[in-house]
Each structure stands twice: as structure tokens, then as C-alpha cells.
């Protein structure tokens, strides 16, 4: 039994519905009482869940906050705002779609007031049968579901299996209600409680309860209560609200968009729409009456409005936009998969840290060069016995197959007193981080390790697999594994115990590679727990002492010609990349989502500059001095802002494409505002200065940092230039209006002057690649500041 002390609400811990209804908000104080024969075990399981799992569960809901404005670039497209019949709402699922309007009626739990004296003996099994059938149907759908669908179906399964719901239905049947009425009333009463919640997320869950009840009622009646419309052509569905199952029943080939009167960004429906890429706008007032069935309608799920019977100019605008979006996605994807090469030509592998095979697929989509750390612990946690060899083989081989020939570094089980496994019976320790963990438990659990090594060896037949051992501090530990590992598999150790760094000479005789686990290494090095706020600041990976230690460690590996990478959080912090680059590592392995940003950061750096920076950092007195050294302003120039093969066909297109390049490079969060600022300047008079050059510019806080963008066009375009000739080379100069940076403005002014020089213009017009542009302009920067 759980009591939410703040609102004095009680909940049965075995019931999802009653837990949701307790309206627990962040920071609420809750009391939990556990009774029964297994109370001790239940208590410790719950404690471990709350302490270790719960904090990792909450995923922030991605909100799309912009709302309420037509694109500023409609002005450029020559569309009169008054001629556009737009209805605004909240952007929920981005993208643009167009089709004929299909208006759906709303879902509601039907009432059947007629019955009053049903026989519980007959009704009880009907309700139970319906519950079982609905659960079975959801379980069946689960088997072929995508991850997003599965999350929702699992939530629905939890509701259909909920003990409070079943109890409530049974109680009503005992009072003489029919199974139909009992389900309808029980569902309505739960939904009503949820709808009253102060928390929007919980209010949204009422729709899920209603949906499950509707499925139950359909079971009892044997008929569909809410038939899905048959879509036969490109369609936009308009409804007051839509249940996830109703949404999934729509023919997705023809479903081009959804407009809802209610709903918000937290509902299951919006999560589904986003994962399936269906544009959706919610909260559009009177959506069902704004148009009639069969009329054309366009949904802009990115900006949050629907346009009725869009004019040809509006359609043309969106077609152009779609083209540039497609181009952008293709170019981002292509760049992500290219190797991360510094400006001076050093290639660094950027790999991903994963905990499951499914993540491997996402990692390679994001351009990972390999898997630098596959944490296998997840396979072993939360279960009664260790996974079998076959089960492990299935998991490892899925990752290896997903890697398509790129190396996968599998770390042998890293478990200790902080992550107890019931079937291992590890002793409780006063200080688990300095206790039995990682490789230190292997000798006592040799069967566990031997099974894992066999599964890994089998997976290695499918692609390159490396094995990495955690928490090594001695040669014996490595030899123990080596004796049990099949031949032909590369073996490495994690450097996370400082002693290992000083044993590299001897370890190198036994292993093929090393990977620095910066998280643990740092806290062991400083004898400071990073999770302890009183001492966490002592354990900074940017402390000069730690950097010196890393430098020494990498040098020792290099002396033995061994491959060395890092798989700690240090590499996911973009500020640290110059230091890691200067250390001379072969690989950085980071969380999946950080891969593209790390690669792009590397591309903007040069090894020689980074080495100088590391020397400075090593000479610093403290971590905070290094911090200051590493967070200078964003550089004006970056190869990411240089596009040398643009296919833009007109001025508006080119300005928009450049704004999108700035967006992709993280220079602006609002590309439309940037586009508008640049276009507004062009309206005064064209910035085409002649000789095929244009210098569009703006002074606007739409940019997060002063920036120079460069775009060279494959075919010259009209820019309204002073000499009447088309433009091929575009230099976009953007400064922030609120903070004037003298050095940057100085650079802009000397660049502007330099553009009057024919030779300089010719050099720019003929450069071979983005880094050459950056190098050429950087030379001007030195002129400007010198």
C-alpha cells in the first residue's frame, strides 16, 4: 500500500491504475507499507528499483513549443497572408502532409442503462473471458510492434491486467450489473479519477483506460463499436480526439496527417504519430466543423496549423521546403557516416556505447564507426538465473550482425555489490566500489564467465568481436580470462583502476588493446566519489593531474604499439574532445545520441592546435582553470558551415538552405527567424556585390554565436546584384545583436574589404573543399586581429 502524503491518496502497489490515480508529482513524499510472507524480499526489490532503476526511467517528453505563426518566408513566396485559411493549434508531430478531409466521430464508452438484474453467475465469466481475450489480442500485437508501439501496447496490457480494474468490474457484477455495464461503469469511474488529476500526463491516461474498456465492450458485444474509416486516397483525418488503437487501424499508406480538437504533446497518440512520422496538430478549435469531408486540407505539424484548400503558391512553398528538407537529411546522414577527420587529416574512430542489440542499429544509423563498449550487465539483471549461452549468443550476434563488419567490443559482465544479482549471492559490502566487482568475481563464478565467453566466441563467427575485461588491476586476472577465451578473438582490458595504468608494460604482453574507463578511473584516481556532492568537484576529468595521468597512460600504450580508446563519459562532453584528440587516442566511444556531435566536433579541430591546448591545460593549476581554457566562444568559422556543392535554384531557396545549415550546426535554434532577418536585410537592397559574390548578413540574436556561412552554388542564380550578374558564391555574415564582439566584427570588416580584391575572390571561388575555405578565411582572421 502506498500513501501519497501530500494529497492523502492511497494506492495499491500492484495496480498501475491506482498508482496513476494517486497523482504522484515530482517531489511528493510517499509512504510505502508492505505486508505478507515475502515482505522482506519485496521490500529490498522495491528499494533497489527506487534507488537504481527509477531515476533512469523518466524520459523527458519532447515538446514542440512553437505555435501560432505562418512561416515568415510565405512573404518571399509571394503569398498574401489574408488569402490563407489557416487554423492554428499545437504542433505535435512534425512534418507536412496534404489530403482530403476525413472527419471521424469521437470515441466514448457507451451506456446501457436498461439492465439492472443480471445474474452474476452468467456475467462473471463473460467479463473474465473478455479481459483474457483483450490481453491476448494486445500480446499478439506486441510481437510485431516497433519500439514506440510496444511501449504503448505494454501500458495498455498493464491496464487490461490491472487488479483494481478487475476488482471494480467484479464488484459491480456482484451488485447485479451486466458484464457490459460493469465494464463501462468501472472504466468510466477510473477515467473520471484520472481526468481530475492536476497532472496533464495523468489526465491523458484517461484516454488509455477508455480505450481498453471499449475493447472489452467490443469483446462482449462481438461487434466493432467504433469502425475505422476506410481511407482510399491521400487523407487528413480530423477528430475531436483519437485513441491509439483507432489511429493504428487507419490505413497508413493514405494517412497524410491528423488534426485534433483536443489532445496534447504528452498523449500516447502523439508519441505514436511521431514515431510513425505522421504530421499532427492538436488543439485546433472547431476542427471538425472548419471544413467538410472531401475538401482539400494541408497539415503543417512542424509549425502547428492546418490550411484549408491551400492556394497553388502555398503548395509550391511546401514543395520547395520538402525538397530542401530531403536534401538536408541526405546531407546530414551522409556526413554522419563519413569518418571523423580533423582539419589536418587525422582520423579518429567514433564508436558507441550500448546496452542492447537494438541500440546497435540506432548507433550505426547515427554514423558510429563501431561499438566501443557493449555493456552485457543488462542481460544478467532483473532475473532469477543467469541467461543461457543461447540467449546470450542471440543478443551478441544481433549486435554483431547490426554492425555490418565494424568491430563490436563486448565487455564481460561488470557486476558488483552495487548491482546485486540474486543468483550470484555476492556479499553485501561496506564499500562496493572498492570491493568485489568486475573481473574480481570471475574466479569464484567461473561457470558464469565460461558461458559468456562461449556465447561471445560463437558470435565472433559472424563478424569482428573484441572482448574487454573490466576492473583489471593485475596480470593474473587477464591470464585467467585468456585461458578461457577462444583463439582469434582480440582481448583487451579497461584501464579504470589506476594500478592497471602502471602495469601497461606487462599487460601489453597479454592483450591486444586498452580502453580507458574515465568514469571510474577518475574517481579512483582522486579517491572521490563522483556521486557524492561533497567531494564530486574534486574528481574532474579536466583536472591537470588527471590529464597528465591520461597522457602518460596513452604514451605507455603507444610505446607498445597497442590500440587505445576511451569509453567513459568524458568523451561525450564536447568540451573535452580537443584534449582527447591531443592525447592521441585511436577511438572515442560515446552514448549513441552523442555520436554525430562528437564527429562533427572532431572535424572542426586540428591536432596541432589541440596539442598546444593540451599543453596549456597540463600547465594549469586547477580543473576550473582548464574549464576556462576550454570554453572559449564558438569559433566564427567552421567547416560545418561551408557548403560547396549547393543545388539551390533561387535566392529564397539559398537563404533558407543556409539558415538550415546554421540550424544543423547548432548555430541557431530558429532557422526561420534567421532566414527572416537575412531576407529583411535583402529587402533594403541586394547584397549581391557583383563578380558572382553576395554577402547576405544580419545582426540578430537568431544566431547563438557570431558565424560565417559559405555556400557555393553548382549553378549561378539571380541575386539582384549591383552588376546585374548572377551569384555563385554566398558568404553569410551573422552577428548577435545583443553582444557585440569586437574581434568578430573586426574580422567581418576585414573580410568585407578583402572581397573587393579580385585575386582573393578568385581563390575563394576555386577552393577545393570546406576545410580549405576555413583555412583561407582563417588567414584573413589573423590579418583582421593582427
Amino acid at each position: 500500500m502506498l500513501t501519497n502524503v501530500r494529497v492523502a491518496a492511497r494506492a495499491d502497489l500492484k495496480s498501475v491504475l491506482s498508482l496513476i490515480a494517486a497523482g504522484i508529482s515530482f517531489g511528493d513524499c510517499c509512504a510505502v507499507r508492505i505486508d505478507g510472507v515475502d515482505e522482506d524480499a519485496a521490500g529490498s526489490t522495491l528499494r533497489r528499483f527506487i534507488e537504481q532503476e527509477l531515476p533512469k526511467l523518466d524520459k523527458p517528453v519532447a515538446l514542440a513549443p512553437r505555435t501560432g505563426a505562418l512561416p515568415t518566408s510565405f512573404d518571399v513566396a509571394g503569398v498574401e497572408a489574408s488569402a490563407i485559411r489557416a487554423h492554428f493549434g499545437t504542433p505535435v508531430s512534425s512534418g507536412v502532409g496534404q489530403g482530403t478531409a476525413v472527419i471521424m466521430s469521437m470515441i466514448a464508452i457507451p451506456r446501457d442503462g436498461a439492465d439492472g438484474a443480471a445474474d452474476p453467475v452468467e456475467e462473471r465469466p463473460r467479463a473474465e473471458l473478455a479481459l483474457r481475450a483483450v490481453r491476448a489480442a494486445i500480446e499478439k500485437s506486441l510481437s510485431g510492434a516497433t519500439a514506440a508501439e510496444a511501449a504503448i501496447l505494454s501500458a495498455h496490457l498493464a491496464i487490461a491486467s490491472d487488479i483494481s480494474l478487475a476488482t471494480e468490474i467484479a464488484a459491480r457484477i456482484e451488485q447485479g450489473r451486466s458484464a457490459f455495464s460493469a465494464i463501462a461503469e468501472a472504466g468510466e469511474s477510473f477515467a473520471a479519477v484520472l481526468r481530475k488529476s492536476e497532472n496533464e500526463y495523468i489526465r491523458e491516461r484517461a484516454a488509455d483506460v477508455e480505450e481498453i474498456c471499449l475493447l472489452l465492450l467490443e469483446q462482449i458485444q462481438g461487434t466493432k463499436l467504433t469502425p475505422a474509416p476506410e481511407l482510399a486516397e491521400a487523407s487528413v483525418v480530423i477528430a475531436e480526439s483519437l485513441a491509439p488503437q483507432q489511429f493504428l487501424a487507419l490505413n497508413r499508406i493514405f494517412l497524410k496527417g491528423v488534426v485534433l480538437e483536443t489532445g496534447s504533446t504528452t498523449s500516447h497518440l502523439s508519441i505514436l504519430a511521431r514515431s510513425l512520422g505522421v504530421p499532427m496538430v492538436a488543439g485546433v478549435k472547431d476542427a471538425r466543423t472548419m471544413t467538410s469531408p472531401g475538401k482539400e486540407i494541408l497539415v503543417d505539424g512542424t509549425r502547428g496549423f492546418a490550411i484549408l484548400e491551400p492556394a497553388p503558391e502555398v503548395r509550391a512553398f511546401y514543395e520547395r521546403e520538402q525538397k530542401s528538407v530531403t536534401r538536408r537529411e541526405a546531407s546530414l546522414a551522409a556526413r554522419a557516416k563519413m569518418p571523423a577527420m580533423t582539419r589536418d587529416g587525422r582520423v579518429l574512430e567514433v564508436a558507441a556505447n550500448i546496452t542492447s542489440a537494438a541500440e546497435a542499429v540506432a548507433a550505426f544509423e547515427k554514423g558510429a564507426d563501431g561499438i566501443g563498449l557493449y555493456r552485457t550487465e543488462m542481460l544478467f539483471l532483473e532475473r532469477e538465473s543467469a541467461p543461457s549461452e543461447d540467449e546470450q549468443f542471440a543478443a551478441y550476434s544481433a549486435a554483431v550482425c547490426g554492425a555490418g563488419g565494424k568491430p563490436v567490443i563486448i565487455r564481460t559482465i561488470d557486476i558488483g555489490g552495487d548491482k546485486p544479482l540474486s543468483y550470484l549471492r555476492l556479499p553485501a559490502e561496506a564499500n562496493p566500489f572498492l570491493g568485489l566487482r568486475g573481473s574480481r568475481i570471475y574466479a569464484a563464478h567461473s561457470e558464469l564467465l565460461e558461458t559468456q565467453l562461449r556465447a561471445i566466441a560463437r558470435a565472433s563467427a559472424l563478424g569482428p568481436v573484441w572482448v574487454m575485461v573490466p576492473m583489471v588491476s593485475s596480470v593474473e586476472e587477464v591470464r585467467w580470462i585468456k585461458a578461457r577465451l577462444a583463439g582469434g578473438i582480440r582481448l583487451g582490458v579497461m584501464i579504470e583502476v589506476p594500478a592497471a595504468a602502471f602495469m601497461i608494460d606487462r599487460l601489453a604482453a597479454e592483450v591486444d588493446f586498452f580502453s580507458i574507463g574515465t568514469n571510474d578511473l577518475c574517481q579512483y584516481f582522486f579517491a572521490a566519489d563522483r556521486g557524492n556532492p561533497n567531494v564530486a568537484r574534486l574528481a574532474s576529468v579536466r583536472h591537470p593531474a588527471f590529464l597528465a595521468f591520461l597522457k602518460e597512460t596513452v604514451a605507455r600504450c603507444r610505446a607498445h604499439d597497442k590500440w587505445i580508446g576511451t569509453c567513459g563519459e568524458m568523451a561525450a562532453d564536447l568540451r573535452n574532445i580537443p584534449l582527447l584528440l591531443a592525447l592521441g587516442l585511436d577511438e572515442l566511444s560515446v552514448t549513441v545520441h552523442a555520436v554525430p556531435a562528437v564527429k562533427s566536433r572532431i572535424r572542426g579541430l586540428s591536432v596541432s592546435e589541440c596539442e598546444a591546448l593540451l599543453d596549456h591545460a597540463l600547465a594549469c593549476e586547477s580543473a576550473s582553470d582548464v574549464d576556462a581554457l576550454l570554453s572559449p566562444e564558438t569559433p566564427l568559422l567552421d567547416a560545418e558551415l561551408v557548403i560547396l556543392d549547393s543545388a539551390c535554384e533561387n535566392k529564397a531557396d539559398a537563404i533558407r538552405a543556409m539558415a538550415e545549415v546554421f540550424y544543423a550546426a547548432g548555430r541557431t535554434e530558429d532557422p526561420e527567424l534567421l532566414e527572416h532577418a537575412v531576407t529583411a536585410r535583402e529587402a533594403i537592397y541586394s547584397t549581391g556585390l557583383g563578380h558572382g559574390f553576395a554577402v547576405p548578413h544580419c545582426s540578430s540574436d537568431a544566431v547563438k554565436a557570431d558565424s560565417v556561412g559559405v555556400m557555393r552554388l553548382e549553378r549561378p542564380i539571380d541575386w539582384g546584384s549591383l552588376d546585374g550578374k548572377p551569384v555563385q558564391m554566398i558568404l553569410l555574415l551573422a552577428t548577435r545583436s545583443s553582444q557585440k564582439n569586437g574581434t568578430h566584427l573586426r574580422f567581418f570588416s576585414s573580410l568585407a574589404r578583402k572581397l573587393m580584391d579580385e585575386e582573393f575572390r578568385n581563390q575563394l571561388m576555386t577552393v577545393q573543399d570546406a576545410s580549405a575555405v576555413v583555412a583561407r578565411l582563417s588567414r584573413e582572421l589573423e590579418i583582421g586581429s593582427g
Binding site: S699, L733, S749
Partner: protein, 111 residues
Amino acid sequence: MVGHAGKGSKVKIVAVTACATGIAHTYMAAEQLEKTAKALGHQIKVETQGAMGVENELSEKDIREAQVVILAIDIEVEKRERFHSTRIIQVPIQEVIRNPKSVFEKIQPWP
């Protein structure tokens, strides 16, 4: 002592450039004026009024000794009153960038 500026003879010129945003055109125009003056054998000093404020500011002496002031401006210049007794040629910045020689042709013929 104000000299005569006959056709082909050297003229002492001061100029001010100023555009709306002060990021690019102010400086492009200044560069064009300096380069063209040099090519034509004139002596010029150009003050820029851009995003960095006033630079290469014209002194009282510069102005006193100049035979003409070129104002290549899209916006009103600061301290225009400095030029109350100097001959002013005012042109939009675009003209300086498009065809700087035409601006210098306005200096001739000397009235």
C-alpha cells in the same frame, strides 16, 4: 590654402562610409574608395561608421585640408556638421561598390 583640382591633378579627399547594419558594406565601400583613389592618384582618408563605431576618425585638420568630402552612406552620418565648409558629394553605398570611378568623376569638373 585650397589648391585647384584640375583634370588629372591630385585631390585631397576625406570620406565617411556608413551602412544600415554596419557589418559589411561600410567596409567594402571604404576599401573601394581607398583603392580607387590610389589608382587615380588622389589622396584619401576614409572614416568608417559601422558596427564597431567610428574608426579612422577624421581630424579637424584632415577636414580643413580636404578639397572635397565623399559621404557614401545609407544612413545619416554622425557629426555631419564637421563638413559645413567643405564641398560634399553624397552617394549611396551601392554606387561606390558598383562603380567607384563614377563617384570620383563627380569631383570633376571643379566648379
